[in-house]
Amino acid sequence: MNSLGMNILSLFTRKSTAPVARERLQILLSHERSTSCNVGLIALLQKEVLEALAKHIEIDPDKVQIKMERRKDVSLLEIDVEIPIPATDKPSSVASKISSRPRRTGQAA
């Protein structure tokens, strides 16, 4: 279809954008309104999660990240913990850099 045809068609099918605006605002504002009170909660969680983990594994405190994301109906609490791999388990540095490609079956052309 040529672009003129597209434009005319889009005139007929144009959807109202206000509901999208409204939805986006509601999500954004509920997040912005809550961030100030969440700061304290997140700091507390950060401290207690660290304490709990430290009893069992060795971790770098900077590698524990806690984030809260507010969605329309629920909030997502994301706890990201990076655990170092003990030196003995690490693959040799060269081995990890050798290219590996999917095995090709069939005949070369």
Binding site: R14, A18, A21, L25
Partner: protein, 271 residues
């Protein structure tokens, strides 16, 4: 006892200065003694919208810093003698305004007027916070558009935390003035509806000012729209809003646009 009202919004260009002039004039037209105060230091415009730009000698900063007396700085409106303007400084730095100075000026204005209306600068920084600092109530100006509504939400947060009244544990009264409302576009679902904005901001509605070329026309000639053409749609909306501020119970109708032939034929509607 005077009421100190701040007209604020966060976002610029939504109609604060227009609304300050129109509401101030409307209240004065109703016989109230009104002072409108321009807090937009460095970008003063209220004098221009009120048609008093050539009469400014002293300004808010001069009075706040004790360089001039309030009497010397207040400009009486040529059309309504209960309406006065205290202009902002055009040349001084905005940091020349101190909290203590503002407190004294507002205190003095309180004794002499029924209404002190503070036209806030845009933004959420110091200038906007000084304009709202000693207010008793706020008119939050918003356009039916995402960035304006978001900024209004921030301003509502500041009104509830950074004003003297809020700090003293008092309740800050807030009213929404929805301006530049285009009924046709709202009807087609291209703009947030009145209901949308009210639901999101959840403060009571003081008025809906339609988008109208009368506003530009009035500012061209330096006259608040309620004075320039009192029967025009935006003037009537401002006059009604002023009556609501005075405690009158004035019914509100949401501006509607009749559907045109095209919309009828193709059944476009707002979801």
């Amino acid at each position: 006892m005077a009421e100190v009202l701040v007209v604020t919004s966060g976002k610029g260009g939504v109609g604060k200065t227009t609304s300050t002039a129109a509401l101030g004039a409307a209240l004065a037209q109703a016989g109230q003694k009104v002072a409108v105060v321009d807090f937009d230091v460095g970008l003063r415009n209220l004098d221009l919208v009120m048609g008093a730009e050539r009469r400014v000698v002293y300004d808010l900063i001069n009075v706040a810093n004790g360089e001039a007396r309030l009497n010397q700085a207040l400009i009486r409106d040529k059309r309504i003698d209960t309406l006065h303007l205290l202009a902002a400084s055009q040349t001084r730095d905005k940091d020349a305004l101190t909290e203590e100075g503002v407190r004294r000026v507002i205190g003095e204005l309180r004794e002499r007027f029924d209404w002190v209306i503070c036209d806030s600068p845009a933004g959420i920084e110091r200038g906007a916070q000084l304009a709202m600092r000693y207010a008793d109530l706020a008119v939050v100006v918003a356009n039916p558009e995402v960035s304006s509504v978001r900024d209004s939400d921030r301003i509502i947060g500041l009104l509830d935390s950074k004003t003297e009244r809020a700090e003293n544990g008092g309740h800050m009264e807030k009213h929404l003035l929805l301006t530049r409302y285009d009924a046709a576009r709202a009807g087609r679902g291209e703009m947030l509806s009145v209901e949308d904005v009210l639901e999101i901001l959840s403060i009571p509605l003081l008025g809906i000012i339609p988008e109208s070329e009368e506003v530009l026309r009035a500012s061209n000639v330096g006259s608040p729209v309620t004075l320039n053409n009192a029967t025009s749609a935006p003037a009537r909306a401002y006059l009604d809003a002023a009556r609501r501020l005075c405690g009158e119970d004035v019914p509100m109708s949401i501006p509607m646009q009749k559907k045109n032939l095209f919309d009828r034929l193709f059944g476009r509607r707002a979801a």
